[in-house]
C-alpha cells in the first residue's frame, strides 16, 4: 500500500490539528423494555482519535460491539456516556445496505447527492468516477433490488464517499466484492488517504493487516492498540 510508510511518517508528527474525529470514553448498553431480558453492555469506555490521512483498522470478535462503536462514532447512535467530536464531514458505509430497493443506481446517487447538498453536475461527476472505479458503471440503470449483493455493497460504499468526506468510516465494506474490486477498493482507500481523508475500516481478515497504518482491537468494550500493523 502506497500510503502506509508515508502515514506512519506523518503519525510521528501528530498534532491536535490533524485530528478529524475524536471519541472519548464512549459507553453503550442495550436495555430491553422487558424486565426479564438482561441488559447487554457493549461499549465500556472506548476512546479513539483519527487523524487526517491515516487508514485505521478496527478488529474484534463477533459481537464485540464494532458496529455499535461505528454507529456511535458517526452519530447514528447516541452513546450513554462519553463524547464524540466530528469537526468535519463524515462518510459512513454501514454493515447492512440501507438503500431504496426500487430506485436505480443513478436515482440513488441523485437522492443521496441531494442529501449531501451537491449540485447536479457534482453528483453526475461523482457517480461517473465511483462507478468506473468500483466497476459497476454498466449497472447504473438497474434497480437496487436487481443488483447482486456485491454491487449493492459497491453502491453503499459509493454513496458514503461521493461527497468527499474528511472522515470515512467503513463497516466491512467489501463483503461480496470480487477479487478485482477488492483490490480496487484498497487502491481507492489509499488514494483517499493520500488526499488527507481519514479512513477507518472494520475488518475481520488477518491477511489485510499490512494495509493499515494502525490496528485497534475492540475488547471488553474498549479499544486497544495492537502491534500487528
Amino acid at each position: 500500500m502506497p500510503n502506509v510508510s508515508k502515514q506512519r511518517g506523518n503519525r510521528d508528527s501528530d498534532s491536535d490539528g490533524d485530528v478529524v474525529l475524536r471519541a472519548d470514553g464512549v459507553e453503550k448498553t442495550y436495555s430491553s423494555p422487558l424486565p426479564w431480558e438482561p441488559d447487554v453492555e457493549v461499549l465500556t469506555g472506548a476512546s479513539l482519535e483519527l487523524r487526517a490521512g491515516e487508514v485505521v483498522g478496527i478488529v474484534g470478535e463477533n459481537g464485540s460491539g464494532k458496529s455499535t462503536l461505528m454507529e456511535s462514532l458517526v452519530g447514528a447512535l447516541d452513546p450513554d456516556a462519553g463524547t464524540v467530536e466530528r469537526p468535519g464531514d463524515v462518510g459512513w458505509c454501514p454493515q447492512d445496505d440501507r438503500l431504496y430497493d426500487r430506485l436505480t443506481v443513478d436515482e440513488t446517487f441523485r437522492l443521496f447527492g441531494q442529501a449531501h447538498d451537491m449540485a447536479p453536475d457534482e453528483i453526475e461527476a461523482a457517480a461517473d468516477r465511483l462507478t468506473e472505479r468500483l466497476d459497476f458503471a454498466r449497472f447504473r440503470d438497474r434497480r437496487v433490488d436487481r443488483l447482486s449483493g456485491g454491487n449493492r455493497r459497491k453502491l453503499t460504499l459509493a454513496v458514503s464517499l461521493m461527497h468527499d468526506p474528511e472522515v470515512l468510516l467503513l463497516d466491512e465494506p467489501y463483503t461480496g466484492f470480487d477479487w478485482e474490486t477488492y483490490l480496487a477498493f484498497w487502491d481507492l482507500a489509499a488514494d483517499l488517504a493520500e488526499r488527507g481523508t481519514a479512513v477507518a475500516v472494520i475488518s475481520h481478515l488477518v491477511s489485510e493487516r499490512d494495509r493499515f497504518d494502525r490496528i485497534l482491537e475492540l475488547r471488553d468494550g474498549r479499544l486497544e492498540a495492537t502491534d500487528d500493523a
Binding site: A76, D101, E107, L111, Q114
Partner: protein, 241 residues
C-alpha cells in the same frame, strides 16, 4: 424545494414500481365493492330506510378498499424503508421533508384508490349524488388510513403482522361505522371511518357534506398526522430540519 421534489419523486417511484400494489389498486376495489354490495342484498331494502341494501354494502366496500389499500402502502413504506430513510437523514436529508414526501405520496395513493373505488361504485349501478364530494371523502378516508399505516408500521415493524392489524381494523371499521346496526358502545365513534362513513353515505345519497362529521373527520386527521409524525420519528431516529 428541490429536496422535496427529489424525495417525493423517489417515494412515488418506489410505490409505482411495486407490481403487487398496482395489482391490488386495480383489482381489490371493484371486487370488494361488488362482493359487499351482493352480500348486503340478502337483507330487505326496508331495513335501509334511506337507501338500498346493495348501496349500503357498496358504500362500505368502497370505504374499506380505499382505507385498507392506503393503509397498506403507509405500512409497507414505513417498514421497508425505515432504515433507508434513517440512512438518508444521516446523510443530510431533512427528515421533516422526508416525512412530508411520505404524506404527499400517501395522499396520491389515497387519490388513486378512491378513484378506482368510486368508479366501481358507479359501475355497479349506484347513483352518486355528488361525485366530487364522494371522491373527496374517500380520499380523506384513504389519507386517514395511510397515516394509520405509518403508525402501525412504527409500532409493529413487520409487514405480515402489520397487514393483519390493518385488514382487521379496516374491515371492522367499515362495517361498524355505518348506522344500520345499532352498536351499544361509544367506542364505535372512535373508529377512524366513523365520520367519513356518514359523510360518504350523505355524499352518495344527497350530495351534501355539511354537519358535525366534517369537523370530527378533520380533527381525526390532525390527531393522526401528529401521531404518524411521532411514530415516523421513532422509526427513523428523530427529526432533522
Amino acid at each position: 424545494m428541490p429536496e422535496f421534489r427529489t424525495g417525493a419523486s423517489a417515494h412515488a417511484k418506489s410505490v409505482a414500481r411495486q407490481p403487487t400494489t398496482l395489482a391490488l389498486l386495480a383489482v381489490l376495489p371493484p371486487f370488494v365493492v361488488a362482493v359487499y354490495g351482493a352480500a348486503m342484498t340478502a337483507f330487505p331494502d326496508t331495513v335501509f330506510l334511506r337507501g338500498s341494501a346493495a348501496t349500503y354494502g357498496r358504500v362500505g366496500g368502497a370505504l374499506f378498499a380505499t382505507a385498507f389499500l392506503s393503509g397498506l402502502v403507509g405500512l409497507f413504506g414505513t417498514v421497508s424503508a425505515a432504515r433507508a430513510d434513517r440512512y438518508l437523514s444521516f446523510s443530510g436529508f431533512s427528515s421533516v421533508v422526508l416525512f412530508g414526501t411520505r404524506v404527499l405520496v400517501s395522499v396520491g395513493v389515497a387519490g388513486v384508490a378512491a378513484a378506482v373505488s368510486l368508479l366501481a361504485v358507479v359501475a355497479a349501478g349506484t347513483e352518486v349524488a355528488s361525485l366530487p364530494a364522494a371522491y373527496a371523502v374517500l380520499v380523506l378516508a384513504g389519507v386517514l388510513y395511510g397515516l394509520l399505516g405509518v403508525v402501525v408500521g412504527a409500532l409493529l415493524p413487520r409487514e405480515l403482522e402489520g397487514s393483519l392489524v390493518l385488514v382487521f381494523l379496516a374491515d371492522v371499521d367499515s362495517f361498524l361505522s355505518g348506522d344500520v346496526i345499532p352498536v351499544n358502545t361509544d367506542l364505535v365513534e372512535l373508529l377512524p371511518l366513523h365520520a367519513p362513513h356518514a359523510l360518504f353515505a350523505a355524499a352518495v345519497r344527497d350530495g351534501s357534506l355539511a354537519g358535525g362529521p366534517v369537523g370530527r373527520a378533520l380533527a381525526y386527521l390532525a390527531v393522526l398526522f401528529v401521531a404518524a409524525g411521532v411514530a415516523y420519528a421513532a422509526a427513523t431516529g428523530g427529526w432533522s430540519a
